[in-house]
Amino acid sequence: MAITFANVSFAYPSGWRAVDDVSFTVKEGERLAIVGQNGAGKTTTVKLMNGLLKPTSGTVTVDGVTTAERTTASIAATVGYVFQNPDDQIFASTVRDELEYVPRYRKWDDAKRDERVGRAARLAGIERYFDSNPNDLPLVIRKFVAIAAVLVGECKYIVLDEPTAGLDRPGQRRLVSLIDQLESEGVSVVTITHDMRFVAQTFKRVIAMANRRIIADGDCASLFASDELLRQASIRRPELAQLVRDLGLSDRAYRLDEIAALIPDNR
């Protein structure tokens, strides 16, 4: 079971080609980061995963069925997408209403509804905002409301579009523990982010995009080792990876523990 992109291209009705000949696979239970410059095609790519957009050419297959053959609503039960801007997603006037939308839509009984809504709110750390109007909450809390609303659906694949933008350290810790929890339950998590420190600490596999195409798909160390790939994708090495590279100690080390081990003695 997997999401598979085979030579996928997408052009908006205006003719603007946002994604060009992209191929990759996200396996069930796998976590993956997508990085790259603003406008590289990252958001378009993930919107193709859950059928919000359908390819202009090529095929996107979710668990064996192409998205072209399915309605967006039916794909959304398998692939959950959390919008970059929570205000594009949130529409209810209380957090509880927002989280109970999926249970109502799928006609779950009350027990199932309460269990799943409660669990999603706990994972996202927003239980105490149940009765708040999302519009009264700070942007970062709204982002976690948007995440919780998608978690309720218990999708096999979850896509987070720039969840780290503007996030503080407690928020990042919550996000990482949420991703860890989802992984332990066999859920795939695909995350778009610009934060390389977060990528280095949280992901092994990373896809880099530039100019509508995938330019790298592999482990963090290989991406951070290549000046050329980083330049094309407009990204930077984490500070410590750059430091040990400048010192000539390693091209591939990026984690604090491995870098600490490489630092020569202070004699």
């Binding site: 970062v140 933008a165 503080d168 430091l243 000539g248 604090l256 600490a260 630092i263 003695d265 202070n266």
Partner: protein
């Protein structure tokens, strides 16, 4: 005369029970770059809104204590004059963009137009900032068609074009890719060199450590520390406020007390490199 002085300032938003700021006393000097750090909802944005008079003029609420901007009580400033004196970039670029202009070029020129800058000078200033931020491809686009990151750049460009002496910038890079973030910080660094006074809210502590003269640390609506950047980011107040340290400082702390220890705690990659380069091949 101080740029800003606050004495025992507290503020509670209308319809809110808890205060957003509590007993804040701060003095900000001219021509420095102040970084403001703290977790979400610690009061950073409220502090910024206060410094540019949005509180209490635009956001109602209960303000106590005394706020002076360039020696004049905040409440005595004419709002229009204050908005000319202080440029401000909002965190949410969707709020900053006017929504009434058809092109990015006009959007960036909007503020200049409002204060009556002559047409030729206006065009020159807009084109200059467009070039510095690499926005050439966007200037004919409709601002409403831009991505989040592109809007953020346009909002920043509009403020740089205004050329105010004192600029309050609230998370200018939250939606930008690393290359664009570096470009924004380079421009902020330039503004500082040109003698501008800047207050900058930003989570990217590595960039903050490189550029800020002083750091203000906030927690639960209070200022829990204010001081030179190196003193603050190497101190325990970072843990108390639950904000990250620069990566190189974390490394140095991890090596403290071992045979690999740094002579002193670095806060930038350049400092760490200098401290370690003599050890290479050793």
């Amino acid at each position: 005369m101080a740029l800003i002085s606050m004495q025992d300032v507290s503020f509670t938003y209308a319809y809110s029970e808890a205060p957003a700021l509590t007993d804040v006393s701060l003095t900000l000097e001219e021509r420095l770059l102040y970084g403001v750090i703290g977790v979400n909802a610690s009061g950073k944005t409220t502090l910024c809104s206060l410094m540019r008079g949005l509180i209490p003029l635009f956001h109602p609420g209960t303000l106590t204590g005394k706020v002076e901007i360039r020696g004049r009580n905040l409440l005595e400033w004419d709002p229009a004059e204050l908005s000319r004196a202080i440029g401000c970039v909002f965190e949410n670029p969707f709020t900053q963009i006017s929504g009434i202009k058809d092109t990015v070029f006009e959007e960036i020129a909007f503020g200049l137009e409002n204060i009556g800058v002559p047409r030729d000078e206006m065009i020159e200033r807009v084109l200059e900032v467009v070039e510095r931020l690499g926005l050439e491809e966007l200037i004919k686009k409709n601002p409403n068609e831009l991505s989040g990151g592109q809007r953020q750049k346009v909002a920043f460009a509009a403020i740089v074009a205004m050329d105010a002496d004192f600029i309050v910038i609230d998370e200018p890079t939250s939606q930008l890719d690393p290359e664009a973030s570096d470009a924004v910080f380079e421009i902020i660094g330039d503004l500082r060199k040109r003698g501008k006074s800047i207050v900058l809210v930003e989570h990217k502590i590595d960039l903050m450590a490189q550029h800020a003269d002083r750091i203000i640390v906030m927690k639960d609506g209070r200022v829990i520390a204010e001081g030179p950047t190196a003193d603050i980011v190497t101190s325990g107040v970072m843990d108390e406020a639950d904000v990250p340290r620069p990566e190189v400082t974390e490394l140095a702390l991890a090596l403290q007390g071992t045979g690999k220890a740094f002579p002193s705690l670095p806060i930038t990659r350049a400092e760490a490199f200098d401290a370690l380069s003599s050890r290479r091949g050793g």
